[in-house]
């Protein structure tokens, strides 16, 4: 018999820890989506795509500006001491991925804003000659490639930090995995590719994005496998955490919504689309995006539920 009686009953901590609600998974999803969009837009920009080409890479920065603002809004809502948020920007804490994240988000905005500026027609900027000159310079081939590089570097940093942020909180055994950073990055890339595929109007780009998304989804499956194997073969604490997804309370939602409907089914549909056996459809990209959101909800919720089992 083992009976534990405690007098502690602190909100958010007891009976099981639940400090983060919907805001954090939504932020992680939107952040990942923006990260994926930035990497893809940067890749197209590096190829020398011009604003007049109708390439999706000059639409993505506008959408990303909106998405990252919504994500930061969710993040702000999650804070409990909101009026002190400016404290984030008076320091850089090298051991805190959340601190890096604050600064990365500050870099994301100018990179996205400059990328968006390129796509504004010159006629619209007549009133602001300095901005017009800047937009024209950024539209030149060399500057455009540099902007592409900046998008890729910032996007990768944004995508990977969200996973590292969770894995640095060692008290939650489910998050104690180095695979989380790459997993969230690749999930963001697949979300970004799915969205870009939907809004792209150029058949050649659509085909490229479709093939890229299939690769991202396959890598995501591989990383989920490594994540679960790594935890299951580590200490009893970590194996118990993995068991939440392998027979425990989060099993059904994880395997049905994240793996089944979010990765395997769209991968199968998109493989048929890529080989021209079925026409392009919205179903698969929408499933990929919903799967990305479900992944964040499951990992954040199950991670908080996982804990150290020793007394």
């Amino acid at each position: 018999m083992l009976e534990l009686v405690t007098t502690r009953d602190n909100p958010m901590i007891d009976p099981t820890m639940h400090v983060w609600g919907w805001e954090i998974p939504v932020y992680l999803f939107l952040g990942g989506w923006v990260a994926g969009s930035m990497v893809l837009a940067g890749w197209f920009m590096r190829q020398g795509r011009r604003p007049g080409d109708g390439c999706v890479c000059y639409v993505l920065p506008w959408v990303s500006l909106l998405l990252i603002s919504l994500g930061m809004g969710a993040l702000f809502l999650d804070l409990e001491h909101r009026l002190y948020v400016w404290r984030m920007y008076l320091t850089l804490q090298p051991a805190s991925p959340m601190s890096w994240g604050g600064w990365i988000l500050l870099l994301v905005y100018p990179v996205l804003a400059l990328s968006a500026l390129v796509s504004i027609p010159g006629d619209w900027l007549e009133r602001w000659p300095a901005v017009k000159r800047l937009a024209a310079r950024l539209g030149e081939a060399t500057a455009s490639r540099t902007l592409g590089h900046a998008n890729i570097v910032t996007g990768v940093a944004l995508g990977i930090y969200t996973g590292i942020l969770l894995s640095s909180l060692g008290a939650r055994p489910l998050w104690a995995s180095a695979a989380l950073g790459p997993l969230f990055l690749v999930s963001g890339l697949s979300t970004g590719a799915a969205f870009a595929h939907v809004i792209s109007r150029k058949p050649g780009d659509q085909a490229t994005l479709l093939r890229a998304d299939n690769v991202f989804l396959a890598v995501e499956l591989l990383l989920i496998g490594l994540f679960l194997i790594g935890l299951s073969t580590a200490s009893a604490v970590h194996a118990n955490a993995a068991a939440l997804l392998l027979g425990g309370p989060y099993t059904a939602v994880f395997w049905v919504f994240v793996v089944g409907l979010g990765i395997v089914l769209p991968l199968a549909i998109q493989t048929l689309m890529a080989s021209h056996r079925i026409p392009h459809t919205l179903v698969a990209p929408v499933l990929v995006m919903a799967g990305g959101l479900a992944l964040r909800f499951v990992i954040v919720s199950a991670g908080q539920y996982s804990h150290w089992i020793s007394p």
Binding site: R8, M12, M17, R82, M88, L90, Q93, S168, A171, Q304
Partner: protein, 179 residues
């Protein structure tokens, strides 16, 4: 430099909760929250039962994950004493420290900042004992400097078997329980 810690004798602790009440009064802990608490762990099979009572709080770890994850430096190690504290004016209430603590020792104060045991540093710096230690009616709780080889804490630890909570979490807690 001092490194404050605590030794709690589980044979002398009767779970009276004086330490909990003293902390609430001393630190004006709001209703519905607590910085320290009592756990009772009953193990075995009738009639061979073993009851362990532990008075628990922030362990002021030597490797505090709550300090390393804090994005603003609000969670910090206070000198002297290496006590883990929260600067309320720097805390943004992101709750990363709550998620990183394997002991569930922190909570969000109704005013929005992360709160927890301070080892009553305001008393200790005046030469007094933490409130929980001062009121313990069975003298089960001992407070002092773990870096002082001659301190009462080190003598107790040298003479009795002891344990810490969740040693496998790797945080190197500084509250020791005598068996």
């Amino acid at each position: 430099m001092a490194r404050f810690g605590m030794v709690i004798d589980t044979r002398q602790c009767v779970g009276c909760m004086d330490c909990v009440v003293a902390c609430k009064v001393e630190n004006d802990v709001p209703d519905g929250f607590c910085r320290d608490w009592i756990n009772q762990r009953l193990e075995g099979t009738m009639p061979d039962l073993r009851l362990t009572i532990t008075s628990e709080r922030c362990n002021h770890c030597d490797r505090p994950p709550c300090v390393s994850c804090c994005p603003t430096g609000a969670s910090h190690v206070h000198e002297p004493g290496k006590v883990v504290l929260v600067d309320h004016g720097k805390c943004i209430g992101c709750k990363a420290c709550l998620a990183s603590c394997p002991y569930g020792a922190r909570f969000i104060h109704p005013e929005g900042y992360a709160d927890k045991c301070t080892f009553c540093i305001h008393r200790v710096e005046k030469g007094e004992l933490p409130a929980c230690v001062a009121v313990c009616p069975t003298h089960a709780m001992h407070f002092g400097d773990l870096d002082d080889p001659g301190s009462g804490l080190n003598r107790l630890l040298a003479s009795r078997r002891h344990f810490v909570l969740k040693p496998d979490a790797g945080t190197q807690p500084r509250i020791f329980y005598l068996e």
